[in-house]
Structure formats: C-alpha cells, structure tokens
Symmetry: C2
C-alpha cells in the first residue's frame, strides 16, 4: 500500500486546474516558488524532523535572503526565541531607534552577536500599555536611566525568548525626568553577560512555566523579569520620536508619532495572513480525513459512507474551507493597505491612517477568533482520532489560540472598531433576493451586508445618544457595539472576496471554484448571523430560507472539488504534521505504526507494575473501590 494514493478517486473528480489555484493561493508565481522551495528544504532536512525535535543544531549554517529566511522559519513550524529576535527586537530598533542607534545595534542583532526580545507586558498589565508600572528614571548626575520594577505586578511577564536565552531586551517603561512622567517608552537593556550568560546584577529572570499544549509555546522560553535599579546609558532609550537631552529635557522630534500606528498595522496584517495559514492547515487535515473516514450507511455489507458526504459534515467543514480562502484574500488586501498607508505617511498624509488602523484591528480580531474556533471544529470533525496528537490538530490549536489575546485582546480591538464606526456616516439600502440564485449576485450580497452593518451602527448610535455622558453609554452598550464591529469586519472580508472575483484569474475552472467558495462564505454568514439581518429588516424570513436552499446547492457543487481545493494550499506532509491529513490518505496503517513509537510501548510490562499493580492483583494491598 506504500506509495499508493488512497485519495486518487477524489482527485479524479476535480473540475479545475489545481496548479493555477496554487498560484492564486500563494499570491504570485514568485511567492509560490519561494514557499514551495523552502517547504521542501525544511521537509527534507532531518534537522527539522517533527517527531524528534532537535533544535539549533544546523540552523546556523544556511545562507538565505531575508525573504527566504522568513519562509524557512515559518516552515520549521515551531515557536522559538528567533521569532521575537527577528520579529520584534529588530523591527523595534528599526522603527523607534535613531539612525545612530540603528547603526550601533542592528549589525550586532543581524549577526546574532546579541539576542533580543521585546519586554512590554507585565504580570498585572496586558492590553493597557499606558498602565505599565516599570519606571525609567533619568539621573542627570551620571547621564543614565535607572530601570526599576517598583511592585510585583510590574514584573515583565510573557516576553518570548526572555526566560532563558535573550541577552538584551527592548524594555517598555514609564519615562521620568526631573520628577515628571512622560509616558511609556522603549529602552535597550542588556540582561545577561555575553561571556557566561549569567543575569547582570540587579536582574531577576526566569521562565514562567508550562503553557497550553504538549509542544506549542512550550518550545518558547516566555519569561519573567524584575529590575532592581538597573542603570543604562542615556543613549539606550529609543529616541526616534522623543529625545531626552543631557539635561533631562524631553524634545519631540519631527518624526510623526503616527509611525507607531503604522508598525501596529504591519504586525496585525501579518497576523491576518497567519490566520489563513493556520485555518487552511486545519481544513486540509479535516477535509482529507473526512474523505478517508467512512461511517454508517453501508448496505449489504458494502463500504460505509465517506463522512465528507454527510450534509452535517459539509455544513460545518465547507464554510471553514471558504473562510480560509476569504481570509487569504482579505490578508492580501491588508498588505496592500499597509504599503499604501506607509507611502502616505512618508508624504505626511495621515488621512487614511484611522481607517486603516480600525480595519486591521477589526480584521485581526475577526480572523483570529474565527480561526481558533475553526481549528477546534476541524478537530471535532475528525472524531475521536482528532484528539490524538498524531492528528496534528491539538498542537495546532494550542499554538494558535494565543493569537486571540496577543497584540490586542480581540474584544478590546472590536471596541476600537466600534469607536471608529460611531464617527462614520452611514447609508441605507435594501435586499433584492427573490430566488435562491439571487444570493449569488455580488451587488445583492454587498447591499445586504452593507445594510446590516449600517443599521446595526445606527441602532447603536441612537441608543448612545440617550446617554448624557457618551463614555457611560459606550461602556453600557459595549456588547452591542462589539456586534456592530463584527458586522462591519465581515462586510470588509466579503467585499474583498468579491473584489478578488472581479480580477482576471487564469486557469480552467479556477474562478468558478473561487465563486463557489465566496458564496459559501457569504451565505453561511447570513445563516449564522440571521438575527442581525432579520432584526434590522435587511432581509425577510423568506429570503433567509432561500439563502439556506442556495447554501445546500453550493455544498453539492464544492463537494467533488474539496480535496483539490485543499491540495491547492500546497502543504507538505511535513508541514501539516498530521497522520489524518496525509496527502496519500493512507491514514490507518500510519496511525497504527505511530502508536508503537510512544515511549510507553518501549516495555511490554509497564513501569510500576511490580510495585503497584501486581501486589493489588494479588491482594497484598488492602484495597477498596477506587
């Protein structure tokens, strides 16, 4: 059976050009080739075996471009201190350091002569950066800052790479000069000796302990850090925006503060891109296994029915498949938006920043929440075997869920979107669906989603106006505001997917499949959020029922292409890391093989048998019902 494709009968049903779809998914031929090459490189190198992880060994000896290295880290598929060094420490110096600071620190960081992390969050303070307690007090006598943790809750807590590895950190602290506070700023602080790695005097540092999952973020040394009056030179404050002079005066530079929001937009658009990656991995596993797994429905002792053919399975799985594509395309658009905003910022045009900021905040929230839920749903769609680590899904879930919390708690972000929406003018419109097929008209769909979003906003605004103090109203109505924000974000995803369909997309049948996916995403949302659409009068119960009919028809159309649509993600078996999601569908023999690798199976008679079990069986222990 080795080498045989157990999913060949599925792949034979495909009605579109899978290679062309791979390019669409990757974004461009260049992106496809790059990621394909890196994925194969990692998959073929024993150093990156997932079943027998060894770290760091050979990672240092490859020579890659920055773009290649980024993809490679991605396919190595294990959180590690390098994520923070390259993803946060280096960008923070680039973005917030002066030219001088960049010249000094970046070469050290690039060559990894120092290893850096990003120490912002504290034990008692997460989302509210302005509430951080760590202080950086300027001492004019010595021209130094004194970094100090005044309370237990001010201990830095969570920074990845901090616990055991990093030599340096960007530490965020309240700046105090001449007895006055000047807000929270970043400081480059050395933590450990470069000779023997011991923490420098006055620095308490350690790992914060076990986290969710067997592997997941347990490969990362998230750390705790306390300062007892640590002194650093004045020029280690990141001073691109605000400078502290020799005398301890604060001087604003002419670099716009808004640049910081630009960085946030950047980080959050990468999170949206990562959401579509994580979601598509889970969907790939669940779709393939649903085609392999059979259950019930056998007649006269014949084969049972593939579970992917059950409508209940389709109605849970296919909307997630559609979401993977939807998030991919809205992520592409966000990447464009970020570049556009950056160019405008450089020309001192700040006009589009608030909307870009709200968009990325909202989409970060929407896509990460949906993806975390979807991974767990995919695990359930794999039945009992999804609970085995060999399915790859428990770890994917455990490693993914922090995305709902880091870089802005998802609910807090939606409230920011709501705040933006309450400042926006809104328009009204109405839905023109008379037959099920009308749900496939882009204009009709967009109008319905625009009307829903607008009317939910208007309802909130109306309720808000009843409060004397708008802030009280905002607090009291925040649950409704979050729902309005979700509606707005879904409108963005829907409209960007529809935009994508207006483009020229080569490859036989590719556009047709994308259209089906788009409308599965859309009509499933109508069904799932029916209360919104009906209560705002955007659609009628009859139109809702037609939407349901259309959804069933779309599921039937997507069904024969399901395996090919997940093949189009172009994931190696190595990257998927799932016996259930194997490309060749040879699930059961491999699951059976995998079991025997567990260390528990090294001995036939388990440890502890002679000490505990044998005496009990032989009644040498007084025993009871336990």
């Amino acid at each position: 059976m080795e080498g045989m494709d157990h999913l060949a009968h599925e792949r034979n049903k495909t009605e579109f050009d899978v290679d062309a779809m791979k390019i669409v998914w990757a974004g461009s031929r260049h992106a496809f080739e790059l990621s394909d090459r890196m994925a194969r490189l990692v998959a073929s190198d024993p150093a990156f075996r997932k079943d027998d992880r060894t770290r760091l060994g050979r990672k240092g000896i490859l020579r890659l471009t920055e773009e290649e290295a980024g993809q490679l880290r991605n396919f190595v598929d294990e959180p590690s201190f390098t994520d923070l060094h390259w993803g946060m420490f280096v960008p923070a110096i680039k973005g917030q350091g002066t030219d001088e600071q960049q010249q000094k620190w970046l070469p050290l960081a690039y060559k990894m002569q120092i290893i850096g992390c990003y120490a912002q969050t504290e034990l008692g303070h997460g989302s509210n950066v302005q509430g951080l307690e760590t202080t950086a007090t300027f001492d004019p006598d010595t021209d130094e800052f004194v970094i100090h943790s005044p309370t237990l809750t001010s201990s830095k807590w969570w920074p990845g790479g901090l616990g055991k590895i990093s030599t340096h950190a960007i530490v965020y602290a309240r700046l105090i000069t001449n007895g006055q506070e000047h807000g929270v700023h970043g400081f480059i602080v050395q933590l450990r000796s470069l000779d023997d790695h011991m923490p420098l005097p006055g620095i308490t540092i350690g790992d914060i302990g076990m986290k969710f999952g067997n592997g997941a973020y347990n490969t990362m040394d998230n750390g705790v850090l306390k300062f007892d009056h640590i002194r650093i030179p004045r020029n280690q404050m990141l001073m691109r925006v605000l400078q502290v002079t020799r005398e301890g005066k604060c001087v604003q530079s002419n670099v716009p503060r808004q640049l910081i929001y630009g960085t946030m937009v950047f980080v959050r658009q990468t999170i949206v891109a990562d959401a579509s990656t994580a979601l598509s991995r889970a969907v790939c596993i669940a779709t393939r296994y649903s085609a392999v797994r059979r259950q019930f429905g056998s007649q006269d002792g014949g084969m049972e029915t593939q579970v992917i053919d059950y409508k209940t399975q389709q109605s849970r799985l296919f909307p997630l498949l559609a979401s993977a594509y939807a998030f991919r395309f809205v992520g592409e658009w966000l990447k464009w938006l970020y570049m556009d905003v950056t160019q405008r910022l450089q020309a001192k045009d700040f006009s589009t920043l608030p909307e870009a900021h709200a968009c990325t905040a909202g989409l970060k929230s929407l896509t990460t929440t949906a993806t975390a839920d979807a991974i767990e749903e995919c695990r359930k769609l794999c039945g009992g075997h999804g609970y085995l680590c060999a399915s790859g899904l428990p770890e994917l879930f455990a490693v993914y869920v922090p995305a709902c919390t880091y870089e802005g708690d998802n609910v807090v972000l939606l409230l920011q979107v709501a705040r933006f929406l309450m400042k926006t003018d809104l328009l009204h419109c109405c839905c023109d669906v008379q037959r099920a097929e009308d749900w496939l008209k882009p204009g009709v769909v967009l109008e319905a989603f625009e009307a829903r979003s607008a009317r939910m906003c208007v309802a909130c605004a109306k309720n808000l106006s009843k409060f004397e103090n708008p802030e009280d109203g905002f607090a009291e109505l925040s649950a409704d505001l979050v729902e309005a924000a979700v509606a707005h974000c879904q409108l963005i995803v829907v409209s960007k997917f529809i935009d994508k369909l207006q483009q020229d997309i080569p490859g036989k049948g590719v556009k047709q499949q994308l259209q089906n996916l788009c409308y599965i995403y859309v009509v499933n949302l109508v069904h799932k959020y029916l209360g919104d659409f009906l209560s705002t009068g955007c659609i009628t119960p009859k139109q809702a029922s037609l939407a349901n009919d259309q959804l069933r028809s779309l599921y039937s159309q997507i069904r024969p292409n399901a395996i090919a649509l997940v093949d189009a993600f172009n994931y190696t078996d190595h990257y998927l890391g799932s016996v259930l999601g194997r490309s060749d569908g040879n699930v059961y023999p491999k699951l059976y093989e995998e079991a025997w690798k567990d260390p528990l199976n090294d001995s036939v008679v388990p440890d502890g048998y002679h000490e505990y079990v044998h005496p009990m069986l032989k009644q040498q222990l007084r025993n009871a019902r336990l």
Copy 2:
C-alpha cells in the same frame, strides 16, 4: 498578605444566603456533606497533590462506601484506568451478564483481583457499533468462541486502561455461529497473564500514544488491541439477553433488549451532570480572576477597573454562569427520568423509553458542546494568563473535550433527536412581550421557546415531505434537522430551570438569584439564536430589542453576587487546581511563586547554552537570519 481574603470586598456585596445555595447546588444536604467531606479528604492528602502527581501509592488503602468512593475518584481529578474498571467493566457485567456470570466475575472485579476495560471502538469504527469488524466465531467442537481481528481497521483502538494495565476486557464482536451472523455482542476476554502481566499468546496490545493536553487523558493508557484467533470458553459471552447453546444456537432470553437503552440513558445522564461540574469549575476560575484582574479605566493614577465590571466581560461570562446552574438542574431532572424509566422497564412498560432516550441523547450533545466551548471561552476571559497551565484551564479543556465525541458523537445524537421529533405532534403559539420585563414571565418565555422549536420542526417536516424517499430527505436536510433538535433541547433545559423555580427553595435571596440566572440563560439564548425566533415569526424585532435591554439589566443585578454564586459550587482550591481561581484572590504572588517551580528554572544558565548559544554569540558558527 498570606491568609488575607483579597475577594472580601466582593463577598461583602452578596445579597443571598450562600450556604443555602450550596445545598441547592449539591442537590441535597446529604449530597453536599458527602461531597464536601470527600473534597477535603482528597485536598488534604499529599498523595493527591496535583503539582507532583504520584499514582496508586496510597489509593488502595482506604475503606469507603460505593457512593463515597465515586465522589473520591471524582475529586482525585485525574483520568485513570479505574474509571473504566468501575465505570464500564463492572456495569457491563452487571447489566449484560447472567446471574451466574455476575457471581463469578463481580467478586474478582470488586476486589480488583482482575482489572477490566471496555473494548468496543475500533481503529476504523466509532459511532457505528453495527459496523464493528472483530469477530467471535463459535466452535462447537471445543465449545469455545474464537475472537479474531480480521483487518487492521478492526483493531480495538481507544479503550481506556487497555494500553498497559487491564488484565481483562469486555470485547464487542460480531457473533458468528454455524456460519451465520447474529449482531454485535460483548465477551469477557483475558488479555494479560495474572502472574507476570505479559499479553497472552495471540494478543497484540499497546498504548496509542500522546493525546491533547499536557496531563489530561495522557494519564490514561488508551490502548490498541489485536486478536489472532484467541479462544475463550462459551460461558464468557455476556448472555443475559441472548444465549448461545452448546450446539451453537441463539436463544433470546425473556429479558427485554430495551434494557440496553436504559444503560445508555444512565451513562448519558451522568455525562450531563459532569458537564455542569466542568462548566462550573471553569466559570468559578474566570469569575474570581475577573474580579481580581484590573485593566484600563484608571483616572488620576488610581486603581484600574476590575474586568468583571466591563459589560463585554459580563455578556460573555454571566451566560456561562447561568448555564452552569441550568445544566445542573436539567441534570437533576434527567437523574429522576432515569429512575422513572428503570422502574417502568422492570414493569415491562416501554412507553416512555423513546422520549427518555431522545432527551438524554439531545441533552448530552447540547451540554457537552456548550461546556467545551465555555471552558475555552473562560480561558480567553482570563486573558494571557489563562494560557498558562497554572490557570488550570488548558488542562480542564483538554480533559473535557472528548465528551463531545465519546458515548455518541454530538451531531449524530442530534440527528437521533430530530428523528424522534419528526414523529411528534406539534402545536403553535405566539409571544406576548410588550415591555422588557415581560421577558421575565415564565409563561411568555416557555411559549416563545415552544413556538420556536415547534415551528422549526414543522418547517423541516414540510421540506421533508417534498422528498419521495424520506431517507434522502433526511440526509439532504440534516443540517436543518440538527438545528431543530438543538432548539428542542434548549426548550427542555429552559423548562426544567423554570420548573425548579416553582419549587420551595429556602434561604434568604436564593430563589431571587436563581431567577436572575434562569432569565440570563433564557434571554441570552433568545439573543444568540435570534435568527430562529425571528425567521419563524415567534417574536418581533422590537421584542428582540426589549430582550436585549432586559439582558443588560439582569447582568447588573447578578454582578454583585457573582463571586458568591461561584463560591456556592463549594470547590476546594485543590479541586480547582488554578492559581487564577484561588478562593482568596491572591493571584499575582502565587503566579510568581509558581513560575520558579518550573524545571527550566533549576539552572540559571540553560542546558545547551555552551553547546549552541555561546558559539553563536561568539560567531564560532557561520550564521544567518533565522
């Protein structure tokens, strides 16, 4: 700070008699005292420490009643082979064994001179018991059954306690006598030698490997088992219902087959009870931590706002608190239902069995799905720290989620409910809400939920009637049918909660709190499933908006009592196993202490530093961007 109650200011706000509520929660004074005593016993015994688990050591030396032992196992709070021995092996012999078989096997099992497990599920077969492949072929020459695994997919897979510990199993296999199949039956099969624990000849046995979570079901030796023509005496088939004679003839006994459904009702009602337990644990942790955690909203450098005071937090947390109570009471009712059905079965009255079977199937599905989602939601409600194992929530989630799959996949179960509903007569009615307070009238609420459930059923029935073959219709419409089944199950939970409120409930303010919780449960469901209520015309958009207003008011009423309402669960800190959920609210110092216990912190300079990190920092490795 040790010994101080950091939640005292919360407990001072309480408006009801917490001790009286503890009795209501436990079900009776006897139940309260029993569980309180066992919880304390386990919590005070170092053998059951959770941070340093040692197993079996002292478990055998306690003398307890069956009721006490059950509670004790519950508070030990770690899945182990004893769960299956006592929970499945013993009951299977009791339920399906003849008197003779019970006399032989039960004493051995009670004294644990043998350890048993329950081997039903196979690698390729889960929910569909009739699809099992293992065979038990009667050999009249030797008066034996030959147990055999004809294929790889027929390997038993998942049974807890099988992998390394059990000496015996109840094995389910297709009975074959005289060349004819007679369905799936249970057989007592010895697996391992009672002398040296080696698997008997012809038996391949092992552990199936790592599962979700760090601890969770990894403390259980879920196993794989293959038979190569194993022979057992004829009298080891469980023959209470069907007997195989010396000649190999099958003879139905006069014991009703329906007894097997009775057992299913029993197992599933315990799962519903467990759901309220798991949910209440998670809610207890999240509620207490939400009162400890502060974020944003500080003015003039004062204290930040407790996150439990944010409406967004309340709108996510309080419905879960209400659900914990709702599931508790519907679980009580199910327990009564089981006893009622059992008494009727003994009197050969099978009339209520189909409804009882549908009820328990549906409620098993509804409560386990809601609980799994709720635990994860509670974890998110604890922000970043919820991701630490020290929060107790990752493990609670990992150990709980299998409940959605075992004892009947939740979607398959809902389809069984739907099948039952399609046979039922339905009535119509209409909602009479004019002011927000009208949502607090039991009659009004029940009518709305009855109407919604009935109309969704009628709509399904109408669509089904369009199909020539009803089975085709059932398959095609199964996603809609599942939704109708959910509506029906929610109606049951709502009506049982309302029934509970009609009872005499002593204790100052207790009934008022239960009323608030009941209507939070109810009105939140109206909001969450608004599409159902509006599309079936059961309520109007205006009534929906009034429901929303009422919900906000209910949240404000429950807020001051939130901590006391979770205190009423009477969970020890040991049982909760959560730093965030500590009864005294002393979260941060304990979290800080906990971190240093991680083995990674045993050494200041981590393993591997000299081998990997130092050479990199000193550029003795050629390096690149990684």
